[in-house]
């Protein structure tokens, strides 16, 4: 499972139950994020206990992308039996500003910014 363009790369590594998002993601509205969402949901179905979302090299995400992340976090919450970790970078401003809000949607979400 991989989505790759000039601007971003998104893929899932089943061995470590981790979805990686890298690059600059500013797609035109929620609709345009559907392939990304589909990849993430597919990965969720294949990660029975724990899922990690690695955003360390995601330099840019627009608000539609933040909406997409919110939707995914709620999907994980609704599934109920999967723990999730968000790994981000404390050197990328948007992550330091906006990622903590996702914990409001799922208080058990582990957020690691380093």
């Amino acid at each position: 499972m991989e989505i790759k363009t000039e601007d971003y790369r998104i893929w899932y590594e089943p061995d470590i139950s981790t979805i990686f998002l890298q690059g600059f993601l500013r797609l035109d509205g929620m609709e345009a994020y559907k392939p990304v969402m589909d990849l993430a949901i597919n990965a969720l179905e294949r990660s029975p206990l724990h899922l990690t979302l690695n955003l360390r090299e995601l330099e840019f995400l627009n608000s539609s992308g933040i909406s997409m992340l919110s939707m995914f976090v709620v999907k994980v919450r609704q599934k109920g039996d999967v723990e999730m970790t968000l790994e981000g970078s404390d050197k990328i401003l948007w992550q330091t500003k906006s990622l903590k809000n996702l914990q409001r949607l799922m208080p058990s979400l582990t957020l690691i910014l380093s």
């Binding site: 929620m30 627009n62 539609s64 909406s67 919110s70 050197k91 949607l105």
Partner: protein
């Protein structure tokens, strides 16, 4: 004489932008190229604005922070400019064929963003309803509710304004101005902004576009 067209303002809208030594104004021509093809250019423009304005800030000051001042300004300006341009594009009345503009003004303590577009009446009403809710609610609570609604797919994403406001501390103001109708703007003194591009068959049922000016003030 034309009747004055109604103007509505919301939030902290500055009618007059204070004089600034450093400013930059970009106008995007109305284009017939597919939006998909133009979309990448808007992102590039936001990147450019971030780079341009961050260059006025020191990038090497000793700091406890992981992200220095220049990088902070660059990332914040890029995010806000990108969201304002994206919103302007989403709410643009393409039939009117009027440009989208964004201007940034730099001051000692803040950057003022001013984005302009021309929106169809219908989307303006929805937008104003959102603005009223936004201005009257507790910001934290409104953000949390809106995030939940968006995440549940109950509502169209409105996180642009909310992230700029709550996460970046941007202060907002809006101005809406109904544009002249082509039939009433016969006098030469007021240029008609809505010429005959609106097909005559629909001009009676479709209202004229509304000029939307969004102002965001970011402390730097």
């Amino acid at each position: 004489m034309n009747a004055p067209h109604p103007v509505q303002t919301f939030g902290n809208f500055l009618e007059e932008i204070p004089a600034s030594d450093e400013y930059l104004i970009l106008n995007f021509s109305p284009s017939s190229a597919p939006r998909k093809r133009r979309w990448g250019n808007y992102g590039l423009s936001a990147d450019f604005l971030g780079d341009y304005f961050s260059a006025f800030f020191p990038g090497d000051e000793p700091s406890e922070q992981k992200i220095n001042r220049r990088e902070t300004v660059k990332a914040a300006v890029t995010y806000i400019a990108n969201e304002l341009i994206e919103n302007a594009v989403k709410y643009t009345d393409e039939v009117a064929g009027l440009p989208i503009g964004i201007a940034l003004y730099l001051y000692e303590q803040e950057i003022i963003f001013r984005a302009t577009n021309y929106a169809p009446q219908q989307s303006v009403e929805k937008y104003q309803a959102f603005i009223r809710d936004f201005l009257s609610a507790d910001p934290e609570e409104f953000y949390a509710n809106q995030l939940e609604k968006t995440a549940l797919g109950q509502e169209e994403s409105s996180l642009g304004i909310l992230t700029m406001s709550n996460d970046y501390g941007a202060k907002f103001g809006w101005l809406f101005q109904q544009q002249a109708t082509s039939s009433s703007s016969t006098s030469g003194s007021v240029p008609s902004l809505v010429p005959s591009l609106v097909p005559s068959s629909v001009s009676n049922s479709v209202a004229n576009p509304v000029q939307v000016v969004v102002m965001a003030r970011l402390e730097v």
